[in-house]
Symmetry: C2
Subunit: 699 residues, 2 copies
């Protein structure tokens, strides 16, 4: 774990490339450091320095500075950066922010310069943020080591961004929304300091309650997962990830691949490590604000209090849509409410306090509802009716809120009428929104985080020990040695067998006698199929014969298949004939694996059969960290699960056997990074057990 103290709380800062010329970045940075009230030493550095820069003594080189330098902010032409970084190293600087652009992002020479920079960071054990970034801000130090125009208000939201432009957008937007930040970090090209380093640091930062991120890519998948699993137990991490996953775009050769969305790997990875994914900038900030202000709900039950029936209905619609609960109020609570709310109102949830509700009615209603044990959170809505007393209602809500630690979100539907009240409420840690749908969105995300905090994310794969790694390795290595990028059916079966994946036996026979013996050993009936990766339409040339019942029939069928294959493709020498045990048919499911470059195996489960692409009923989970809860959730997310559980009076299928197959596929593909894709379609699921029919393993 990197120590980023020097980045956020340095005792002294040198600005290399400092300038007296207004508008220059080297000017803005020194000016920002001064204006923000940074309490440490500021040393302007410029090779042409002569006297002072912005009233501070200037130096020609960082090496000329008399005292220690913790942090260097650098804005000099790209070609001078690396030499200057070495000087920083010599000086004993711990942290450098390289604002300069012109590295990896421009290609060519820039890429080489950036590689050199990475080496320098290692050589001097120096943290380098950037290059090509906006800098960092810490509102508590306070430190504005950036060329952003504005210092945000202090608050408990940290923001980490891969885009400098997004960072300034967000800083500016926060000013109009009254949102405060603890730290803001623009990562740039991430030559050394990454989102993982920063988020790991933020986890233990007392001033940070919620971590927001904007990312375009993640560079160390395994470490990301490992760190985030830890951090998300401490505080919420919400990331807006843009762009489409490479893995998703590339992997289209298998069933599983064609079913995966563009960004399924990030979805699976974020879910796995408890990172919540924002789907838009609006969401990112709605959620950030809510987590920064409010406690977490203990469950899904929401009460709605409104002075307008229409708003209550909209809210109820959204609560249902997002799978939360509009809680039924107890008779006792209703009786209490009846004493407060006139008859024309409603004491049922959504509770209607009526358009003429005075502040006391809001306050008493809220107090009664907060006492109801079944209620986990409350949405309070107001329309600015002629008799609505904005401000006073806000005070009443703040007062009622003091009696409870349940989340309250206020929906103030309007503009100027609520401006002051909203400030009051936010100061009292009560999030406010204009629209009811936003409030429900927020509560859903908060409820989800409460679940994430409580979840066990321990992998169960270590418990699977009855596997024969060596046997599988032998088959896989043989194929690799032969330069093949796929296993043939009988090999795939052997690999599955080595990992105790329940599968229908397949044997490659190279003579009629072998075919007959194999069939006898596995038991009749069997299927015979021409074995050759060069013959594509095997059925069309008579290369597949099902329901072979006897040894004699097997022998004859072998010869017949070979004859027909040679007739259709005189130039091809088949590998032989595959003999597979015919299994009774069961419910058809698919179990597959796609390997993501960052996050490793991603396991798909869903409806199988020939129409999988049509139905697209598949759910993906990260192989790393898979366990019973995750697999239960995976299975339950699919439509086929209803069939497996016993649809319309059918007997239930053996879901445990399916789970076992999923686990073993995860184990196998975690153990063998050589396996690029794996596709079992179908797996027949029976009332007792299951059987993998068609196993494709791509290397």
């Amino acid at each position: 774990m990197k120590d980023l103290t020097g980045l956020f709380n340095p005792k002294s800062v040198a600005v290399i490339g400092a300038s007296n010329q207004e508008g220059k970045i080297g000017y803005i940075v020194v000016d920002n450091l001064k204006k923000c009230g940074y309490p440490g030493e500021i040393y302007p550095v410029n090779t042409k320095a002569d006297g002072e820069i912005l009233g501070l003594k200037a130096y020609k080189s960082v090496l000329d500075i008399p005292g220690d330098v913790d942090l260097v902010v650098m804005s000099i032409p790209a070609r001078f950066v690396n030499d200057t970084l070495r000087q920083c190293g010599e000086k004993g600087v711990t942290d450098v922010i390289t604002l300069t652009a012109g590295f990896k992002e421009v290609g060519g020479e820039g890429v080489k310069l950036e590689e050199e920079m990475a080496d320098i960071a290692k050589e001097y054990n120096m943290n380098i943020q950037g290059p090509n970034c906006l800098g960092s801000l810490d509102t508590y130090t306070p430190l504005n080591a950036s060329f952003a125009q504005e210092m945000p208000e202090a608050g408990n939201i940290a923001f980490v961004s891969q885009s400098g432009a997004m960072t300034v957008a967000i800083l500016d937007w926060s000013l109009s929304e009254g949102i405060g930040f603890s730290k803001v970090v623009s990562l740039g090209n991430k030559v050394d300091v990454s989102e993982i380093d920063v988020i790991e640091e933020l986890a233990d930062d007392d001033e940070t309650k919620v971590i927001l991120g904007y990312l375009e890519g993640i560079s160390e998948g395994d470490r990301f997962l490992e760190v985030m699993r830890r951090v998300t137990k401490q505080k919420p991490v919400i990331i807006l990830k843009s762009g489409s996953s490479q893995a998703g775009a590339k992997a289209v050769s298998s069933h599983t691949g064609s079913l995966a969305g563009n960004d399924f790997a990030f979805d699976a990875a974020f879910e796995n490590c408890g990172v919540m994914r924002a789907r838009s900038m609006q969401d990112l900030f709605d959620y950030g604000l809510a987590f920064s202000k409010s406690e977490l709900p203990k469950g899904k039950n929401i009460a709605v209090v409104t002075n307008a029936g229409g708003g209550g209905v909209l809210t109820a619609d959204k609560i249902e849509e997002l799978g939360l609960e509009l809680a039924e109020l107890s008779d006792e609570t209703k009786d209490k409410l009846k004493e407060v709310i006139p008859d024309e109102g409603s004491v049922n949830n959504p509770v209607d306090v009526l358009g003429d509700a005075p502040p006391e009615r809001y306050e008493k209603t809220l107090e009664i509802i907060l006492q109801e044990p079944e209620i986990d959170s409350v949405i309070i809505m107001a329309c600015p009716t002629a008799s609505y007393k904005a401000g006073e209602v806000g005070d009443a809500i703040v007062k009622a809120k003091e009696t409870s630690d349940k989340p309250i979100i206020v929906v103030n539907m309007g503009g100027p009428a609520f401006e002051e009240e909203n400030v009051t409420l936010r100061k009292a840690s009560i999030p406010t929104t204009i629209f009811p749908e936003t409030a429900v969105n927020i509560l859903q995300m908060m409820e989800r985080y409460a679940t994430i905090k409580a979840e066990d994310q321990q992998s169960c794969l270590d418990q699977i020990t009855d596997v024969d790694y060596d046997a599988a390795a032998k088959i896989i290595n043989k194929a690799i040695d032969e330069g093949r990028n796929a296993l043939i059916g009988s090999e795939a079966y052997q690999v599955a067998k080595a990992y105790n994946i329940s599968a229908a036996p397949i044997v490659l026979a190279t003579s009629a006698q072998e075919a007959a013996d194999a069939a006898e050993e596995m038991g009749f009936p069997v299927v015979l199929k021409i074995a050759s990766d060069k013959i594509l339409h095997k059925t069309d040339i008579g290369g597949v014969v099902v329901n072979v019942q006897t040894k004699d029939e097997a022998e004859n069928t072998y010869n017949e298949i070979i004859r027909k294959a040679k007739e259709a493709h005189p130039d091809i020498t088949p590998d032989g004939v595959e003999v597979q045990k015919m299994m009774p048919s069961g419910h058809e499911v698919l179990v597959g694996m796609l390997r993501d470059a960052q996050f490793g195996p991603i396991i798909g489960f869903g409806m199988g059969g020939i129409y999988v692409n049509l139905i697209n009923d598949v759910c993906f989970k990260l192989g790393s960290g898979i366990n019973d809860e995750v697999i239960d959730d995976q299975i339950d997310s699919t439509k086929i699960s209803k069939l497996l559980k016993g649809y319309r009076g059918d007997n239930p299928s053996d879901i445990d056997a399916v789970k076992d197959t999923i686990k073993r596929v995860a184990k196998l593909t975690m153990d063998f990074p050589e396996i690029k894709e794996l596709d079992i379609n179908p797996v027949f699921v029976y009332e007792d057990g299951c059987s993998a029919l068609d196993i494709k393993i791509t290397l």
Copy 2:
């Protein structure tokens, strides 16, 4: 069509219940009329009037007023309302706004009072808005005939709302967003004036460019559809509809019913008549603002211009998600852009003008892109970088925009930095948003409206003439006369046959001989099935025999089935045995109908078979107004359509036959309101033709 001139542009207004007491509604209304600058006569009326009210001569009764009165605004206790309305009628008042609450919404006596009010409206041919409403505003007259606290700015958005509280919320919100309205109408209980009347009036209102609505229910489905089909060709209508459809909640007895969402009827109806449905308040206003400002795009091709790569990626993601196109720029355009944009930028779409882009670079880039014929609309994004010149960029965009009628939406990502620029842009009819996702949402809705305007919404059902109404009527009426709520299989087949729906013949045989004869006539093989609505598990008792091949076999099987039925259920006398022609199996689809109380038949099409509920691959369209385009869209919306079109090299199925079945089901259920639900599952679809297997008709 109602004439609502007196409601929006009256020559004189009387306020009955006018008051000198500040805070009273009768005071606020008179005060609002005076303050808004209403140019006509204002007559305060109060039975206790003595001298003046708010400086205006007051009258004891509307009958005492010397001149004509066009509009009356009434705020008196509910029990006096109807008598006073009669006085208004006698006086020749054309329009009345009844603000008073305490009618239908309180139940009991209130319901009766409201029914009486409806009769008064008819008797005097007087338009009555409300009761239980906020009133109306017209910013052009100008007229504030409401007790809303604020008069909105003048603009070209009309807003019609069933909720008074939502109306005030929206008026207040508009003030902070600088949104102007033409007319605002609070409908209340809709005793007489409905959303249909108001929207019909707004269609011809020159000051209204876009119509927004908030509705909780619609009372005259057919008229709504008829009027909206017309209005939506003139201007966009966007409605936020809250609450769940009754029809959806009730209709769960059939397959089709269980597949319908809660609100599918409104979705189908809105789609049918070109009304666009907002999914949230936020959407409603985003769309309203965009339509009020911008021209319509001519197609789906969007160009994005940004000074921040990250924002461009987010926008591109959303464009793909919503099915719009990030257009490829022509080489010619790219060459022109290269002269304007530095090498580090991008001349590919999204076009990156870089963080240091001066206003001229924005202007020239935009001019070049607007000239590209392939581009239908442009999203211009800005982050407030250190060198960004807000205001000047805005001016540059306005200037470039003057050369083109393509829609431009500006995404200004930030807060205070863009405040002034946003005002400039909106004044120049360029919509602005903070977040990129909103801009793409807006363009999608605008592109959709452009399509709606061009669509043919003519029903094709009149063209279907080869149906035997009388034959179907005879069977249906017989069942109704016998007090049955469902047809038996052979009856349903006869009804389908009368409407030329391609179906497998079914005959009810009451003797072995009849069974054998029927089988011979329809052709072997046949299925025999015990006919009795009292025997539920027909297969379990041996009541179903498939693949009957000969006349003798049919006779024997008949007797056998009757024997087994009597053995299993000695107390039940079966109706006989149904003989159905066995059809070769084909792709299984479902065609069904649910009748909505407001909008009539809603036709479902999708994947059929025993797992329809599991897969839920069904699309619903309104029967009224169904035509080839609508059915094509319906079929294309389902996954099964890929199968029908020839999946992975299969021969395509006869989609025309499916379309014919859908049309005829629509025709049948439009002709017979007695049919409550209809369910054909499966319809077998072949390469040539199709055949309805299991037809259920519920009355």
